[in-house]
Symmetry: C2
């Protein structure tokens, strides 16, 4: 059985767990808590030298890392990944955008706010609010007249982008000016076998 | 003919241009200089709403963005991308690692140093040097006993990781403690149709 290392409240872990459930793939979980530094312990680094959660261990012991790469691995050959070369390039574009802008500016800010580190990082947070809002503006524009990000159906691009975007207000972002994003979040929540991000 | 938007001295543009040449794909270039803000002009945003360089325009007018997604698009069905599901997941892992750690910590630092903004960003640079060096340590460990990152052959994982790593010392990083990385850089430079990063 597949084995998922991480904690359920981590957005990047949630992405993989949501996809596993939506694809109906059985898995077991092993808690590796990044908040207490368990991801830096030698036993875990031996499995995933990148030192992050999540990691996904296959039945033969191979360990996959980087949440977005795991999403592609799991969704390949399903409608949740691209059916054409161009669709795959579009989905990957949004997966990279998500990691370099949404995760970087929005997830980081939400984490600092929720862990009481906002005041000590006021300058960083101000910059993240600006750059994260620019990223939301790009998403809002792209969603104009669209139900989902790529190929007019729910894919791992939506799943990945949804995760930190739908809780952006917990980091001090304002989603009111983004009606397309808010409507799209509701569509993601209505997909089959969806479950909410724990602790959000 | 494919049309590449960007500037030759940008590492992310260089990655795409190097791959185009190594695959023998004809292309033309259109200068969009991010240093002078040309990437934020309405004409360019109409083509690439993400507002970054590079972008690659296909013959039918479709515009691809996010350098790593463009690399996958171009290398699909060639030996430079993964031949199996697992190889593809491994290559994608390193492409995400590259964008979230190497580009983020090393490329940014090199840019600040080379544009005279080091003193004004001393705290950020100190943090980037620490986190970028941790990323180099991960690469050094992975390369132990290996010629290339994935599948024992040159792939777009090597091409992407090489770009900002081989000029890391221009950002104040020290590559002397990383003999595996230095030997691997030489192997990348020896690949067919390689050309050096302009202005480096």
């Amino acid at each position: 059985m597949l084995r998922l290392y991480g904690i359920p409240t981590s957005g990047n872990c949630y992405k993989v767990e949501l996809l596993l459930r939506q694809l109906g793939i059985p898995y077991e979980t092993v808690e590796v808590n990044s908040r207490t530094g368990e991801n830096r312990r030698p036993e875990y680094l031996a499995k995933n030298p990148l030192g992050q959660i999540p990691a996904l261990e296959l039945e033969d012991g191979t360990v996959l890392a980087e949440s977005a790469a795991i999403l592609v691995y799991l969704a390949e050959d399903t409608p949740l990944y691209g059916q054409t070369r161009l669709e795959r390039a579009e989905i990957l574009k949004w997966l990279f955008f998500e990691q370099t802008r949404i995760a970087r500016y929005i997830a980081t800010t939400r984490f600092l706010v929720r862990t009481g580190q906002a005041e000590a990082n006021a300058e960083l947070i101000a910059q993240n609010l600006k750059l994260g809002t620019e990223a939301l503006e790009i998403m809002e524009g792209h969603l104009k007249g669209k139900e989902f990000f790529v190929g007019n159906r729910y894919t791992i691009a939506d799943l990945a982008l949804f995760t930190y975007t739908h809780v952006a207000e917990q980091g001090g972002f304002d989603l009111k000016p983004f009606p397309n994003i808010r409507a799209w979040c509701e569509r993601v929540k209505a997909t089959e076998r969806f479950f909410p991000l724990p602790g959000a």
